[in-house]
Subunit: 414 residues, 2 copies
């Protein structure tokens, strides 16, 4: 079953909203064994919608549309489809009764524009939308299916789950597909591709590998299509294991796991308590750590030591160190991490100081120079990074890097 | 200038990532007076990319592509475009030099796959990508422009801002359009719409008003199309002033300003120093404040007081208060803010404690109960929020709320 997804609405094209419907529908179709061959977005114009539906039907068996079914004047999808499929309109009593009951519950009367929503194309199967006013529509032509749903995400999701996917699964025999994503940190896309090539080069034709890099992390997605889902799952699992065996130290998790979640699980399992001492990241690392529900079980807190006086007063970094080596130095981050370990009484601590940019660099310490120290009372490791001039990118990169090094430290020392 | 945007990558179609590039590119094109007539997404296949480029060129003057330019095998956009535009490939010395310098900074050598990235189609204008390895490409055919950019958002944005948009504006005559966005915090979309209706109802036909709500903030965008740009700019400015006059206390800035930037400017101008004491937001507010370049001029630092022991030891919140009222209480945040003012010796401080969720609530203090205190030595204000069960949304909402209340406090007290 080849699927094309069309989202309709000017607000998507002018960037007023981010289109989340495509990702959700795409994932559902893929998980059920369909193949999304393309997706498109078109504005609220008759010619545009006709053209995009026509093109989608040329390449797909099923066209899923969302958007343009509301009660306002800019919502024209229903009439365009009725015309496209040469269909008369008819008042749909069932829908009207549903709307009346719905408005009764709100203690309001339906507006004339809602009554208008009850006229439906006679050659469409009407799909009940229990989450809103506009019903879905299912058209068929020359063996192809065109489904129209509202653009409001929870209404679309309701129709997909309760009406569209069950009906599609009845009508089409689907080739199962299986995906697994390996999450890595610590090496670039090309290094990883190089290292896993001995395994990936031997993959059969129906396997596909993709690399998704993001600031020091790379997601490696391995997918396969076939007829036997159980066999595929076994094959993908074996393939994933073979890939991971070539890059074991880079892999921190799978699929929807996060670095902060994985680190949190590790700290919980080992009963370790963590504190942070951040200068240039200004609380970002603490934010990442505490974005995990349950982080209060292992994260105690920490200092945002932005000004030098905070580094000395709250973490005990000596004036001599700050004067002799500067705030961005190995000596300073080591003193910061020792201060945090002592004053926050935690098993582990991490300290970061650097020049996040875009200004503030010197010849000896250009913008993007970052020092990290992390460890426990017996063992402190330090790292120096030379990053870009982009402040926010640098901060995010340091967050990813820190979470990865903390994970390694726990694995190696506990 | 009619534009079609193509995003390339299986990861978008299978729902692994949400496509944010279309929204960003769509907004930029619209702001510069272009019209986005459609957008599409296609997987990493030769036939797919060819077909989509062909269809896009039929309806648009300019086709913007993002994705599929990485160094790995699944990235095929460059070769497909070279073939589509009948172009030989040639080693691009400039790109290679740039990559070598880039890797020198990292202390690494380029891999063979990076050298592969330096072969460029001879009939494409190469666009320097200072944010990553893959350059952009500008093709022209029969008066139409096809631009290919990497899919990594910050690389795409860099190329759009520094190369693509300036070049497009030179080549196409655009119907002037003028947009100005009023940034507000502290009231919802419908309240604002209501209050500004007396002005917006009288807008001429060629004016358009849009409301973009986001977690306690609403952007009100006022735009106008026409032939005389100077006249339009004057009209939009007057309209904006008339709107702002109806909601003066809600407006914190315009266009691309940020809450943290506006607050920073205020603190700088008044010579005030700020510290933070965060519990449930876990460093997020500090991160927002320090995401502004130059924030070290007014932000000293602060505590992430996640555990109760940190609240008492590092901020002096008494055991009695914690026992009697609990960590999530007005009494606790007032003690936290006084502790931060005293121990960080700043003019202003803010303290936050709450139950971010999704678990941890009680009958008396359900998930989403948040207390804030902010002020100086003479005057501390407190606020209670009742938010949702969504941890990350709550944290972001509190960040927005805090920055807005800090701005108000400075304006009212200094």
């Amino acid at each position: 079953m080849k699927v094309h997804i069309i989202t309709i609405g000017d607000e998507i094209l002018i960037g007023q909203i981010i289109n989340t419907n495509v990702a959700w529908m795409g994932e559902q179709v893929t998980l059920h064994g369909g193949q999304v061959v393309g997706a498109s977005t078109v504005g609220d114009t008759k010619e545009g919608i006709r053209r995009y539906v026509q093109l989608a039907m040329e390449e797909a068996d099923v066209v899923l549309l969302s958007g343009g079914l509301g009660p306002t004047k800019d919502d024209i999808t229903k009439n365009v489809l009725a015309e496209y499929f040469d269909s008369e309109m008819e008042f749909h009593e069932e829908t009207y009764e549903r709307l009346c009951k719905m408005f009764e519950r709100f203690g309001r009367d339906p507006l004339p524009s809602h009554k208008e929503q009850c006229y439906m194309p006679v050659n469409a199967k009407v799909m009940t939308n229990n989450m809103g006013t506009a019903p879905g529509m299912w058209f068929e032509k020359e063996g192809k299916v065109v489904v129209s749903m509202p653009g409001v995400p929870y209404e679309m999701k309701y129709l997909m789950e309760h009406e569209v996917l069950p009906a599609l699964l009845k009508q089409f025999t689907l080739l199962p597909s299986v995906y697994k994503t390996i999450l890595t940190a610590g090496a670039g896309e090309s290094v990883i591709a190089d290292r896993i090539e001995p395994v990936t080069d031997a993959f059969p034709d129906y396997f596909k590998v993709a690399f998704l890099p993001n600031l020091g992390r790379v997601r490696v997605r391995i997918g396969a299509y076939g007829t036997n889902k159980t066999k595929l799952e076994k094959e993908v699992d074996e393939a994933v294991n073979a890939v991971v065996a070539l890059i074991p130290e880079l892999v921190f998790g799978y699929d929807r796991e996060t670095q902060e979640g994985v680190l949190g699980d590790l700290l919980s399992a080992k009963g370790l308590r963590l504190s942070t001492a951040e200068s240039c990241t200004g609380g970002y690392l603490a934010h990442r750590i505490t974005s995990v529900s349950g982080s209060s079980g292992y994260y105690i807190g920490g200092v945002v030591a932005y000004a030098n006086e905070v580094k000395s007063e709250k973490l005990g970094v000596s004036e001599q160190i700050l004067q002799k080596y500067g705030a961005v130095s190995e000596e300073t981050v080591v003193a910061m991490v020792n201060g945090a370990l002592e004053r926050y009484q935690t098993d582990l601590s991490i300290a970061i100081s650097g020049i996040a940019g875009p200004t503030g660099g010197t010849e000896a310490k250009p913008v993007g120079t970052i020092w990290l120290a992390l460890g426990n009372q017996n063992n402190v490791k330090t790292y120096k990074l030379q990053l870009t001039k982009d402040r926010l990118k640098n901060i995010e990169y340091i967050g990813n890097f820190s979470l990865n090094k903390l994970r390694h430290f726990v694995l190696e020392n506990y």
